[in-house]
């Protein structure tokens, strides 16, 4: 094996997570499936950050939780540090869990309000039966110091801390066992901008120090650019484009990536004045009944008849740059078309009648 392969910490192949849709009534039947994640593949090396971006309903959070086996995937393989974990039982998973941890979006709900900070951060040691040299309390206080908390606050409760400090508690808990992978699900989106920057810096420092790999799930494209080495863009359960950071932001090829980037306002009025915005029509289609062929075609300015019949495969167009599109388009071509006023997105064939809200069963195991 080559050195590069040895450094790989996570490899996900054709991961699928479907949720059953059940009819209402006394004896619910399964009447369909929400294909929240529909065949994604990705890999991650030690010390690397992969940003997973997409809008709500794209399946990015379900993908992240499936990778950590918080949700049982329907199919596909997950290889974590050399072990296949997709089909392990909960008991078999327990020793594996020290290798992979998670940081959650909402620091207010991710911490038990009745436990002290010391109790929260030491939980991983207790659960895994690890006795750190020098004792648990010393180890926890060292962790608190490392993430920028006052170690004297060991016996305080979460409600005595601000949002940013609570997220630091979450970070300390996640790094307690020196995991190789941390899945971060929107870790800074609930924080004020000055605090957000502090946490991003902290995550970067910890990564350099401990060679942690981050799977960084977020909707904020600026935050993702700041922290990621590579970025994968999800839409309706699929990865539509993945590339190194600079490429995805300066030379994207998928029409959806173009639309997404153009929609984010830039904090500079002069630049903002000159930017062309591709306004997508309508909403993301229902994952219960996704469009045939390419899932993005109903909102795509590049769509052609072929897109309805043929699913575009994710193909490598340049080293590390993969695109799933029959008609990829460069930044210059998009700009030229925008100048000519030819970026017309067909009106979405939205379901006209209000959709009866389906009865979801989640996030339980789909096979139960």
């Amino acid at each position: 094996m080559t050195a590069a392969v040895e450094r790989e910490i996570l490899r996900v192949t054709d991961l699928r997570t479907y949720f059953p849709v059940r009819s209402r009534g006394l004896l619910p039947r399964v009447v369909g499936q929400v294909k929240a994640v529909d065949g994604i593949s990705l890999s991650l090396n030690t010390g690397e950050t992969l940003g997973l971006v997409g809008e709500s309903g794209s399946g990015k959070t379900t993908a992240a939780r499936s990778i950590l086996r918080l949700i049982k995937p329907t199919g596909g393989q997950i290889e974590l540090d050399g072990t296949q974990i997709a089909n392990l039982s909960q008991a078999q998973l327990r020793p594996i869990r020290r290798k992979a941890q998670m940081i959650f979006q909402d620091p207010y709900n991710a911490l038990n309000p009745r436990h002290t900070v010391g109790g929260i951060i030491s939980a991983p040691f207790r659960i895994q039966g690890v006795e750190p040299p020098g004792g648990v309390k010393a180890a926890v206080q060292e962790l608190m110091e490392r993430v920028g908390l006052n170690p004297e606050h060991y016996n305080r409760y979460p409600n005595e801390f601000s949002g940013g400090q609570r997220q630091r508690i979450g970070v300390a808990r996640a790094i307690a066992l020196r995991p190789k992978l941390i899945v971060c699900d929107e870790p800074v989106s609930a924080l004020d901008v000055s605090i957000q920057a502090q946490i991003l810096n902290l995550l970067k420092d910890l990564q350099e120090e401990y060679e942690i790999a981050y799977l960084f799930v977020a909707h904020d494209l600026a935050v993702v650019r700041q922290i990621s080495h590579r970025v994968a863009v999800m839409y309706l359960g699929h990865i539509v484009e993945t590339a190194p950071r600079k490429t995805i932001y300066s030379a994207p090829l998928h029409p959806y990536t173009h639309s997404l980037l153009s929609a984010v306002p830039v904090p500079d009025p002069r630049i903002q004045l000159t930017r062309e915005r591709i306004v997508l029509q309508g909403d993301v289609p229902s994952p219960i009944d996704p469009p045939s062929g390419c899932v993005f075609r109903t909102r795509c300015f590049q769509a052609q008849p072929r897109c309805a019949s043929e699913v575009p495969p994710l193909v490598e167009v340049a080293p590390d740059h993969l695109v799933a599109c029959h008609f990829p388009i460069t930044v210059d071509e998009v700009a030229a078309r925008a100048r000519a006023g030819q970026i017309e997105v067909p009106a979405a064939e939205a379901p006209v009648a209000p959709v009866e809200a389906p009865h979801f069963v989640e996030p339980g195991p789909p096979h139960a």
Partner: protein, 359 residues
């Protein structure tokens, strides 16, 4: 747009008062933990047809400013002092029925969460009809026709059917459109949007921002946009008011705030945000520490505990003297003890680093 005298709250009421003029507004709440001074000495004015962005972090007082204008603070148990003039009328002294008559007709507000202004029990069309009938003497049929027009106007597809939908049957972006339609149905002079797109995806946010701009151009509505997103500010605002610790710390035209910011807090905000459109240095340069508690504000400058430059002010004034909001150049006010030349030099340094120069 800004008259320094009025900004400082010294001007006598004059017939040429701008469309919206807030003078020395203070809001406080009594709580179990002590008095929360949510707003203190806020003075600003806005000309008709312009868009003012109010930026700040949580607890800065930006939402309370909006609630005070809408006359909602007393109902929340708050104490208001100072004056708010809207189109020649003073709002803080009005009776609750009088301000209720203005709400929804002269001025309207949209919120981050559309479900806070839509009742889950009633069809969206009926709710908008209700808003018309509450303020105008028109027939129900005419009101319904107008409602349908408005739903089409704000971009609801198949509006003929959706007019009879319940809020839960619509997507988040669609509900936001309904709420905007309801806010605009009586052609208000002033529209206050409190984080209108924070809960939405970027592509939907783009749709809603385009909609607000288009409607603003069409109806000549004056807009106050409350947001923490400096990208949205750059996109839609004419003027910017930066708030911190319940007071305005920097006010100016949008181009000035982005090109020549002078208040260390504004500089800190700009240094804290990651950029989607360019590669930044590996580490951001955030403001240190946390925002102050509104119960226990620092003496002197409220930003002093997080400010990197207060040691440059002679005599330690930042620790003891509250700075005033003063003009520094035309259409630009700053609340800071630093001498103007010093502020400009600091600003230039920070902006050079932001533009990619090494430290």
């Amino acid at each position: 747009m800004i008259n320094a005298e009025e900004m400082a709250g010294r001007a006598e009421p004059s017939p040429e008062r701008p469309f919206l003029s807030i003078e020395n507004l203070a809001v406080s709440f009594n709580t179990e933990d002590g008095v929360v001074r949510a707003l203190d000495g806020v003075s600003l004015s806005l000309e008709k047809g312009r868009t003012l962005a109010v930026v700040g972090e949580s607890g800065s007082g930006k939402s309370v400013t909006a609630q005070a204008i809408m006359g909602l603070v007393r109902g929340m148990g708050g104490h208001v002092s100072g004056q708010i003039w809207l189109d020649g009328q003073e709002l803080t002294r009005l009776q609750s029925e009088e301000i209720q008559a203005l709400r929804g007709s002269e001025m309207a507000m949209i919120f981050q969460d559309p479900m806070s202004s839509l009742h889950p029990f009633y069809r969206i069309g009926d709710q908008i009809v209700e808003a018309i009938l509450a303020h105008r003497k028109v027939g129900r049929a005419a009101a319904r026709k107008e409602t349908l027009e408005m739903l089409k106007h704000v971009g609801i597809p198949a509006a003929e059917r959706r007019i009879d939908a319940y809020p839960h049957q619509l997507s988040g972006g669609m509900r936001q459109r309904v709420m905007i339609g309801m806010a605009l149905i009586n052609s208000p002079q002033l529209l206050i949007a409190d984080e209108p797109t924070t809960a939405l995806d970027v592509t939907v946010q783009a749709q809603i921002l385009e909609l607000i701009s288009a409607l603003k151009d069409e109806f000549g509505t004056t807009v106050i946009l409350i947001t923490h997103d400096l990208g949205i500010v750059a996109d839609v605002a004419d003027d910017v008011a930066v708030m911190y610790g319940g007071r305005l710390v920097e006010v100016g035209q949008t181009s000035i705030i982005y090109d020549q910011p002078e208040m260390p807090y504004t500089l800190g905000l700009l240094s804290s945000i990651p950029r989607m459109d360019r590669e930044l240095p590996k580490r951001l340069d955030p403001i240190r520490g946390n925002p102050p508690s509104p119960i226990n504000l620092p003496a002197g400058c409220v930003f002093q505990p997080r400010c990197n430059y207060s040691d440059r002010v002679p005599g330690g004034a930042c620790l003891s003297v509250r700075p005033e909001l003063l003009p520094t150049s035309p259409n630009h006010l700053v609340r800071c003890h630093l001498p103007a030349e010093e502020r400009r030099a600091i600003s230039e340094d920070v902006r050079r680093i932001l533009a990619g120069a090494p430290k």
